[in-house]
Symmetry: C3
Subunit: 340 residues, 3 copies
């Protein structure tokens, strides 16, 4: 399938890379990645142009990769620097070099032409830089599902009551309408559930006993990054929308990496303004998130299978689909700019 190439995707957490050759597949492209002597991460096409052996099957010599078949050697920019048995190096002896940046312990890769990489597009949040906030990396969730469905699920507050009834949602929110703003670069869908019992998550974190006001804001940064801002505050405080920092506030971040049409990696992490510095709390949150995100995984994988059966009519669209619908339309326009 076609993908948005001119964008940063997450290739992995920083901890996933060292001075060994790691093969990753992103947008159906095979890429070999490794940490260079200077500590930065390199990314090259993972295929020798000679006999197509993945370079990740070869050997790292300094910052160069020697192919494991005939010893052709490429530097970290993809330039061939040695062809054993001959002196001249053909002009076609190179591999694609990808732009890579590391930020907040996350390794981003630009999947378009390296020269077109836009530094300012790398994802960031002010909360990463604040000592009032605590950041913690979770897991890499592998889903046998198309990334478009995974992303749409992340700008869709309406599923929470039904998919996550014991963790992130409960029956109180089933009929609460969803607000959507699709004007800006970032799509947003949100709703407040006012004066209702706290969900499992905020019974555990926040220690709320009486009713609370609870919010869910779903920010979708195209093509593949989602920020879910959710939290709670005592209902009698009647918190204003813009005062969410005064409640217990959590950001769940999802970095989606499309592997191929039916495979997506969702690397998720969280930031919070409570229990700062408390790694025990982080680990307990991970556990709750794991339960919830595996609920999504079950749904999304079942849909992927079902979509592959013969279909005789078009899916119907509901009021709650505004965010997903605009998301897919924008992705289509990014992939095929002529049709937008």
């Amino acid at each position: 399938m076609s993908y948005v190439r001119n964008a940063w995707y997450v290739a992995g957490w920083s901890s996933e890379f060292d001075a060994s050759l790691k093969r990753v597949v992103i947008l159906e492209q095979a890429i070999v990645m490794y940490r260079k002597a200077d500590g930065t991460v390199a990314a090259l096409e993972d295929q020798c142009p000679h006999r197509l052996l993945p370079l990740s099957k070869g050997k790292l010599i300094g910052d160069d990769i020697q192919c494991g078949y005939h010893g052709m050697t490429f530097n970290c920019e993809g330039k061939c620097v040695r062809v054993p048995g001959q002196d001249n190096i053909p002009a076609s002896a190179f591999v694609t070099n990808y732009a890579v940046r590391e930020k907040h312990d996350i390794v981003f890769i630009w999947m378009g032409d390296a020269d077109d990489a836009v530094e300012d597009d790398i994802f960031d949040l002010p909360q990463f830089h604040s000592d009032q906030w605590h950041a913690h990396q979770g897991d890499a969730l592998h889903l046998k599902a198309n990334y478009l469905n995974v992303a749409e699920n992340l700008v869709d507050p309406a599923h929470v009551s039904f998919v996550h009834p014991t963790t992130l949602g409960n029956a109180a929110s089933e009929n609460v309408p969803v607000h959507v703003d699709t004007e800006g670069e970032v799509l947003v869908a949100w709703r407040w559930i006012r004066d209702a019992p706290p969900i499992g998550f905020f019974q555990k974190f926040g220690g709320f006993k009486g009713n609370v006001d609870r919010w869910h804001y779903y920010y979708l940064h195209l093509p593949c990054t989602a920020v879910i801002d959710f939290g709670s505050a005592d209902a009698d405080r009647n918190l204003a929308e813009e005062s969410r920092d005064e409640g217990v506030r959590i950001f769940a971040l999802h970095f989606l990496t499309p592997v191929n049409e039916h495979y997506t990696i969702d690397r998720w992490m969280h930031l919070r303004n409570a229990a700062v510095g408390d790694e025990d709390a982080s680990i307990q949150m991970d556990k709750l998130f794991r339960v919830a995100f595996n609920e999504d995984k079950e749904i999304l994988e079942a849909i992927d299978e079902q979509e592959q059966m013969v279909q005789t009519r078009k899916p119907i669209r509901l009021a709650i689909d505004k965010g997903p619908t605009v998301y897919r339309r924008r992705i289509d326009a990014m992939v095929n700019p002529d049709y937008s």
Copy 2:
């Protein structure tokens, strides 16, 4: 592939259904089935028209199914009765409803339009209603094979000597010619092996020691139900064809459920006029049938694999193929009535 849709197929034994959601796939259609409060069985398209999640991943609330993704709720007729977060229900919010009937502890489903279902076409046998006969349900045999080959095997007495030499056949029958009658609605192939040693089955059930007359009648009810009437009587009685009830007589019933082009479920059961009420005998018969039907399974799965290899000439047809040939021609005509 194309199937005969306007027909009853077996969705399962009655015991397979209760007040939980069960996904079945028949003729490549995904269907969710469950037992309603009134005890009858419902069958709906197993796919929410919104995001395509199988409804079987949802929740049964009374007789309604609530989708596990966004809570759209369908009643047992497939009508949408709730869309959380909006008041109006779109006209396109429905799922297909299938006609279901239960008879003799077997659940039948009509795979065509429910309004076209023909009550009288549901399979029945007078012996089901007689207390001289004992009925017993066997297994659901899963075969990686096309249902047409499985059905043809059930109107084919000639294979018995070679595929089932120790259970249902023996060398005595190898050259005995097969009679075939393809005039009526039900195809019949049969042969009598007169004055020969009893096969394993009738050594065990019937207690025959000397030579017997043995018969095999294969009745194929299109598209997918077979009745194999077989039995034995002492050879010196020289039993007439129409007096088979005077011998030890067994009906093996096969209800074929085509799942897809390469997968068929064969639910088999048996009725007999001997050892009535003796469940120990039923269990011993099951054991013998299991051996025999697994012999068929091995043959039919090997053929299915072989058929997928490149073929350079057409299979040849023999005298024994009259039943199978007419069967396939009639199925073709039912699937493509214009070509008949």
Copy 3:
């Protein structure tokens, strides 16, 4: 894919065949093979022309095969000799019969029309007939790879330093140029590494301590047989190319059997002029070869997977590719003689 049909392929070692039915797949053709009463090996199309059941699922009766479905019986020439239940045997009731020859405990099969089989084309070597030489059969290495890539690897001395650094090669040879002769029927690529430390293989066999002259000759007999002549002699003897018999000399033979586009069996064996009659040495050599050939397997399977990813440019060709390039061009001409 298309294959060279008019050629002898190895169906197995002699020890693989006895009086039981063995299914093999060669060039995507299913074949049933067995040893006849007279000790020779028969090979027939492994598919009954009636219902396509593999004959290997049937029964050997004398030298005839009785199909396991309806008992059609074929003699060892593929002629039908019995159709149970009918007297006449249709003219179309036959299966293809393949020409088979056994030589040096190897079973060869001619994949073209049996009448076109060319006796003189069966592979042979004078060393098989000499008591100065010791022959020993190794394994059947199964590779998930296209046979063309496997064959090209066998006329490619340049990969040895990189793929087999501890067994068959070492760094001393990395830059030594390769000679290639593609004039004759047999393609040859070779190189001498003069006055260098012995490789692991000849430290073990030969007991060389000081520097040696080492040679590798790769002979590729089209379509699918390779002879790798390699050896060593003390460097101060300065051995002439034609005097290789005076050193420790080993022939590694590879018989490639293409199963399908992505599966090849490489049956390998060795002959040597040292440690004649010493089966312990043979077993130790097997161990070393196994290590080395599994290194090839890892490379070739990784390439096969990588080739199936979307490719946007043509692979580049290097000076070392002369042998492989001519090999593939000749195979193309043999498969499509009109295009040559």
